[in-house]
């Protein structure tokens, strides 16, 4: 098969970008894979493009656009006709992509949208996969009949605004299929779209095959990871950790992530008297390397769309203690098996559970071993096989047949 994955901006460092690269890496073993990026804001992507995968940017913006100017300058250079064309493509995009989605993601520029339309009209791909609502909506509107369009959702349905949900309800049924990250989300989309089981599939994010470290579970360190934003509820984690900090002063909480919430969190740490014991570690390029120094992973989120950090922790043998919040944690964590789930928002219970595993090394080690086994469910090869089977079924059911493509270098 020839598979094109369309992403808003493949040059940044977000979680979606990382998982798209991982999936592309796996699919490229047996298929021709192309990543189409609506925009490009720098010369080289943050993550290295996987071997055998082609990266095709549609519109260069910002400093990367060179001396000629910024995004607005592109059309200006074309003169008045370009300006009119730009306005026309802008209107066409607005008709499909609702305002809140355009606000949330700035990649739906007129040249990018025009580029996508042109790309879809001429592509030799058998399948195009969208990776966020705006892209999926554009694919549902513009993908020619000979190509299978699949919508991949990385965000839970409940987290979308009413306008975006309405657009999804109206347009997604025209897609050839869609995937979500959790069973909970599958139920939500099935209720909204009345979709059949074969059309809508749960496809978790994969763990790429890497030489991974393994925690020896002997350091007095609890790790937490994820951007410093309100949804992660780090102040609640500080309260829960206080319980451990009082009883076992040598234990430390290391929080990995960056973001606008940093100053506020710094103040909270100082206010709560946890300065010696809570460390704001910033962003890291080697998250598994850092998690492997810890003995526990803590999750205090209001919602977790999936819970990639939990799986990354599992992959280095670190058990998780998490709020039983929607959606991912309860589908990933086997309570008492590879970690502990406590009632969502119950900070006291979270502290209690952390304390229990801090004090019970044997339980930690047993859960750590089980975590390694659990991580195998998310191994890239297995997830790629599920994708292949899904795409082949969707192609067959829609009466399309993949053309055979030679895959270079394999």
């Amino acid at each position: 098969m020839k598979i094109a994955i369309v992403i808003a901006n493949a040059y940044g460092l977000g979680g979606t970008v990382r998982t798209v690269y991982n999936l592309a890496e796996g699919l490229a073993h047996h298929h021709e894979v192309e990543i189409v990026s609506l925009v490009r804001h720098k010369a080289e992507p943050f993550f290295p493009v996987p071997e055998g995968v082609r990266l095709r940017p549609l519109h260069t913006i910002g400093a990367a656009a060179g001396k000629a100017g910024d995004a607005a300058g592109d059309a200006a250079g074309d003169g008045e006709r370009g300006g009119l064309a730009q306005a026309w493509w802008d209107r066409r995009a607005r008709a499909v992509v609702p305002e809140p989605e355009r606000e949330r993601n700035k990649s739906y520029t007129a040249p990018a949208v025009h580029g996508l339309r042109r790309y879809l009209a001429g592509t030799g791909a058998d399948v195009v996969v969208g990776t966020r609502p705006g892209v999926n909506l554009l694919l549902s509107a513009w993908t020619p009949g000979r190509v299978l369009a699949i919508g991949q959702e990385h965000i839970n349905l409940d987290e979308h605004t009413p306008e975006v949900r309405a657009a999804i309800a109206r347009r997604y049924p025209r897609l050839g299929g869609m995937t979500v990250l959790t069973s909970a989300d599958r139920t939500a989309y099935r209720d909204l779209l009345g979709a059949e089981d074969g059309w809508l599939e749960v496809m978790p994010n994969p763990l790429p095959p890497r030489r991974l470290p393994r925690s020896t579970l002997d350091n007095p360190i609890i790790a937490a990871a994820g951007r410093l934003s309100p949804v992660k509820q780090y102040p609640k984690l500080l309260d829960a950790f206080s319980r451990v900090a009082r009883a076992h002063p040598e234990w430390r909480l290391r929080i990995y992530g960056g973001g606008k919430g940093e100053e506020k969190l710094r103040k909270k740490i100082a206010e709560k008297g946890l300065s010696n014991q809570v460390h704001l570690m910033g962003r890291t390029k080697d998250i598994t390397g850092e998690l492997a120094k810890a003995s526990l992973l803590a999750v205090s989120s209001r919602v977790e769309g999936f819970g990639m950090t939990i799986i990354e922790g599992f992959s280095v043998g670190v058990p998780a203690v998490s709020f039983d919040c929607p959606y991912g944690p309860r589908e990933i964590i086997d309570h008492e098996g590879d970690g502990l789930l406590v009632p969502a928002q119950d900070t006291e219970a979270l502290g209690e559970a952390l304390l229990r595993l801090v004090e019970d090394r044997e339980a930690r080690e047993r859960m750590g071993r089980q975590a390694l086994v659990s991580a195998e469910r998310y191994a890239l090869d297995g997830i790629v096989e599920r994708w292949e089977a899904f795409l082949e079924r969707r192609l067959a059911e829609s009466g399309r047949r993949p053309r055979s493509h030679a895959v270079s270098g394999r």
Binding site: R211, L212, P213, I269, A270, N276, K293
Partner: protein
């Protein structure tokens, strides 16, 4: 064949323990990281016990920097030693700090899974375990920790915590306690605020521990694996009435992970 370790630690006597299972016959060698050929430094007197190798590294001429750990098989072929152990064993550090030494060795796993040794020239210093920041209504900063890489201190004489105004001539001293190699003390903040020099927006005070006998050790937190504590660890401050203007004082770690106090005009730059 690559040798794979699942435990890599360096004990207080600079013996590298590698749990490798059955590695077959061969020897351990070190090579400056980044050099591809030549310059092999063979580790002598490696002892095999059960599934572990114990390699004494004391006395080897290891310049500052990173060293690859290599396995040399019976035919003289070298292969890197891989490890799954991140190399951080915080509970080992206390014993490591206790011995006087001029060179510190750490086992490090790089992002590709290779085992490296990191060699660093060190000086005796005072490892900070805990900082008690000023709580509302108090005007001291408490510190406690252990002597690192220094000989056991004299019992006779009085230790002190010394704060020195960086780039200026202010010195503030307060008595400290020594219990074996453990130290503790409190820095009074009033005298720091009184010596505040408003023409310098940042008045930094570097903290030292003076041992009986006069030797001074810089206070620092270097034992764990956190390389840059300045932004990662944050202490609250307190506001005191300096020579007329309110002065805010707080402890902080410098870019070198040394412990200092920062005094600024309250409401000014922080």
């Amino acid at each position: 064949m690559d040798v794979q370790a699942d435990l890599t630690r360096i004990d207080a006597a600079d013996v590298l323990e590698l749990r490798v299972g059955d590695a077959g016959g061969g020897a351990l060698a070190l090579r400056r990281h980044g050099q591809s050929g030549g310059g092999l430094l063979t580790v002598e007197r490696v002892v095999r016990a059960g599934g572990s190798l114990r390699a004494p590294l004391e006395g080897l001429p290891l310049d500052d920097g990173e060293w690859d750990v290599l396995w040399v098989d019976g035919d003289g072929r070298t292969a890197p030693v891989d490890t799954t152990d991140p190399g951080v064993h915080l509970s080992d550090r206390a014993a490591y700090l206790r011995r006087p030494r001029r060179r510190e060795l750490r086992a490090v796993r790089d992002a590709e899974g290779r085992l490296l040794l990191r060699s660093t020239t060190v000086e005796p210093y005072a490892e900070v375990d805990w900082v008690e920041p000023p709580s509302p209504g108090t005007d001291t900063v408490g510190v406690r920790g252990v002597l690192a890489y220094a000989p056991d201190p004299d019992r006779a004489g009085a230790p002190a915590v010394v704060a020195r105004q960086r780039g200026l001539d202010g010195v503030v001293e307060a008595p400290a306690r020594l219990d074996g190699r453990a130290f503790s003390g409190s820095v009074p903040l009033e005298p720091l605020a009184a010596r505040f020099r408003p023409e310098c927006p940042h008045n930094e005070w570097d903290l030292w521990l003076r041992l009986p006998g006069g030797a001074e050790l810089r206070l620092a937190a270097l034992a764990d694996d956190i390389a840059d504590k300045k932004r990662k660890i944050v202490f609250p401050g307190t506001v005191l009435e300096g020579g007329g203007t309110p002065v805010r004082v707080r402890p902080y770690y410098t870019v070198a992970n040394e412990l200092s106090l920062l005094a600024v005009a309250d409401g000014g730059a922080r």
